[in-house]
């Protein structure tokens, strides 16, 4: 399956019966309270976020911790989705499948995508994946939501020609995928919902593709996957009712709030795992939880690497009810980070997901009672604009976490320990001995020891 990125999410509520319904909205472009309802899954109230997985797991969190620490109890599986069973995802959890990671690893070649395939990062390097294979594969795996394959050029400026080409490909790929789905004649209720990818340019710039979405396949597309907020600026009326899933890589909670206020329903938040890897316990609430204006803006997260925590028996964040905060303390996490024990990142990951869970619950609450805008303003005043700088080291990086820059690059992970081997050092420093050097000379240079 290569680097297929599955994304999963959590949460509760119960309301209308359509797949996506908007409960409350303020005007055409603006924040909205909605509800995503899929057969067999917990109802997902929006705005919400999806936990990003890699190889079917939320990084660092085993499946039993996921179910236990996030408060979902196991439900007997109905065996509907082979993928769900394979990755041991709890039944109530929403499962979304897309082609690339969020954020993706940039492909090394200049034009990684072709008319029939995209380049994806696999465990054996970049490989082309055919659009037709993708469409067939995802239908067989039956996640709850499939993100249609899009020609999304990452990491480079887009010229007019490239956009035109992307538009053509997207139309072709989406239409074939929809046709394949319709030909398969699966009962409508039981199959995955299809979300169409929207390339990261304004709608005016990809008019033909937008026309396809609003006309030819209007009935077959259940939602939109958004890669840049610019596409929402001139989104036509006919597409507004669709749920919008963002792969926009917000870098701060402020940015999340801005994207929600522009009408995003479900987000993916790469800074969550980035904070975990950096050893930072996120610490912010929405609405901002402070009685009066403080002199200093509050920090968005606590750096657990700091020595100050070494003897602190406080939870990571005071009053937090997550597994990590109720069972462990700062001193332990600081020790684990310091000793580079994997459990550090497990505990931080649990805590950080819990923090975001509450953050989004707060957002929905204020949307419901109409105080969202005011609280966004207050949030900006109370908190610092950026997450704390990373001071310590993260876990050992793996293949997909960095871009290879070609031959001769330095090692990505420092050797975990060195031996006290003075001979070796001596050897490295010395000049090679001449061919006729005697035993004593060799010994002096550290090449060998004279046997007695």
């Amino acid at each position: 399956m290569g680097s297929t990125d599955a994304v999963a999410a959590v949460q509760v509520a119960n309301l209308p019966s359509e797949m996506f319904s908007i409960i409350k909205t303020s005007g055409t472009i603006g924040p909205r309270l909605g509800c995503l309802r899929l057969a067999g899954r917990q109802v997902l109230e929006t705005p919400h976020f999806l936990a990003i997985t890699s190889r079917g797991v939320v990084p660092h969190i085993t499946q039993d911790s996921f179910a236990g620490a996030t408060g979902i109890s196991g439900v007997p599986p109905d065996g509907s989705s082979p993928l769900r069973r394979f990755i041991a995802l709890p039944e109530p959890t929403l499962l979304v499948l897309g082609a690339r990671r969020t954020p993706p690893v940039f492909a090394p070649s200049a034009n990684p995508n072709t008319n029939t395939s995209v380049s994806i990062c696999t465990s054996v390097g970049f490989r082309p994946m055919k659009a037709a294979d993708y469409a067939e594969g995802v239908e067989r795996l039956q996640p709850d939501i499939v993100v249609g394959l899009g020609d999304i050029p990452y990491g480079r400026a887009l010229g007019a020609k490239r956009i035109e080409k992307a538009t053509d490909r997207n139309i072709e790929w989406l239409q074939s995928h929809v046709k394949a789905r319709n030909d398969a004649k699966a009962p409508k209720g039981s199959r995955s919902k299809l979300f169409a990818s929207l390339p990261p340019v304004s709608c005016a710039n990809q008019q033909y593709y937008i026309d396809t979405l609003t006309q030819d396949v209007a009935k077959d597309v259940d939602g939109l996957a958004v890669y840049d907020m610019v596409s929402l600026e001139d989104l036509p009326e006919q597409l507004r009712h669709l749920p919008k899933l963002a792969f926009t890589e917000p870098s701060t909670p402020h940015e999340i709030l801005r994207q929600i206020s522009l009408g995003i329903d479900v987000l993916t938040i790469p800074f969550l795992t980035a904070a975990t890897d950096a050893g930072i316990a996120l610490d912010f609430t929405f609405p901002a939880n402070s009685s009066e204006q403080e002199a200093q803006p509050k920090i968005l997260g606590v750096d657990m690497w700091l020595e100050d925590h070494a003897t602190s028996l406080q939870p990571l964040v005071d009053g937090c009810k997550c597994y990590a905060c109720t069972n462990h303390h700062r001193a332990y996490v600081q020790h684990l980070l310091n000793a580079k024990e994997m459990l550090a990142w497990v505990l931080l990951q649990i805590h950080n997901h819990h923090t975001l869970d509450l953050f989004f619950a707060g957002i929905r609450q204020t949307l419901r009672n109409g105080s969202f805008e005011d609280n966004v303003e207050r949030f900006a005043k109370v908190y610092e604009t950026l997450l704390p700088e990373k001071t310590g080291q993260g876990p050992r990086v793996r293949g997909y976490q960095y871009k290879s820059e070609g031959p001769g690059e330095p090692k990505k992970n420092a050797a975990p320990f060195q031996t006290f081997d003075d001979k070796k050092e001596k050897l490295a420093e010395s000049t090679p001995p001449s061919a006729e050097a005697g035993a004593a000379e060799l010994e002096e240079l550290g090449f060998a020891e004279k046997q007695t």
Binding site: P59, T62, R398
Partner: protein, 370 residues
Amino acid sequence: MFMPVATQASLKGLTPKQLEDTSCRLCLNNTYHLGLKPGQKTLDAIGGAHRLQSWPHNILTDSGGFQMVSLLKLSRVTEDGVRFLSPHDGSPMLLTPEHSISLQNSIGSDIIMQLDDVIATTSPDHERIKEAMYRSVRWLDRCIAAHEKPESQNLFCIIQGGLDLELRKECCAEMVARDTHGIAIGGLSGGEAKDAFCKVVGTCTQLLPERKPRYVMGVGYPEDILVCVALGADMFDCVWPTRTARFGNAVTVDGVFNLRHANYAYDFRPVEEGCKCTCCRPQEEGGLGITRAYIHHVAAKETAGAHLLSMHNVHYLLELMRKAREAIVEERYPAFLKEYFLKLYAGDKEKYPQWAVDALKGVGIDLLSV
């Protein structure tokens, strides 16, 4: 009983809750590692290792002597203690029996070990082995004198003496006379031949008092453990199940399999069929129903892959010991052993290791008979 090793106060990525789920009630911490990080001052401030790692069950700590030998090239043992260079700044340091006990008092572990003079059993220097044995006895006296919490922490002595059975016998007599709570057989599993290893264990167990726990240090392969049980040993520890898990190896009744091998990419059976651990148990029974193919997919690529296999491997060893205890209580341990070896070697008695056959014959169990 098998004790998994949580070297630096965490069992390689598992939460204490997950460790509890494998049915573990006693795990190991390493004094040497905890002494360096987080350090004695921090341990005192926090109130010990149980509070540090929120582990409500038992902890055993080693004395730190073994790490001096296994990790540090430039350590030197003198009568005072072990001299070594700090791995942090390279400054010379000294670990004495008094330091070791004081550290273990701060850690607050339920079972503590004396500092012993560990040398490789394969060492050719017989004088040195002899010296180490006598020194270990002298250090035990210093450890007993330095122990501040004998009412809450149980001190175990460690039998030394290399592969020399006479030295071992002498050491047993000296150590037993000092009446510690339990007795460990140390200095083994350092690359010596298996039959020599079994002889040492067998010799020692015969001389040790009936009613005290006997702990063979650093032994972890299932066959070794089961043979040692037959020889009369009670407790074992090893990092092997968790370490091998990180390399993608699954420990099962049919042997050890490396799930990173391409053979397993499409193998949708559980890691071990019929296993009741959280990882293998089917989803219908509240487990995860993880397949070999999935482990193949994540092993060495996601930390969670190592966590899942660690859960399985630790559970496997604890379950193996549970079955062994059951068999002993029901007085059918020889039959249990035969069954185990038959399954492990898929019925091929030719492949049985000779050392195991010989060692078991010595205690009246004929592995090769039906």
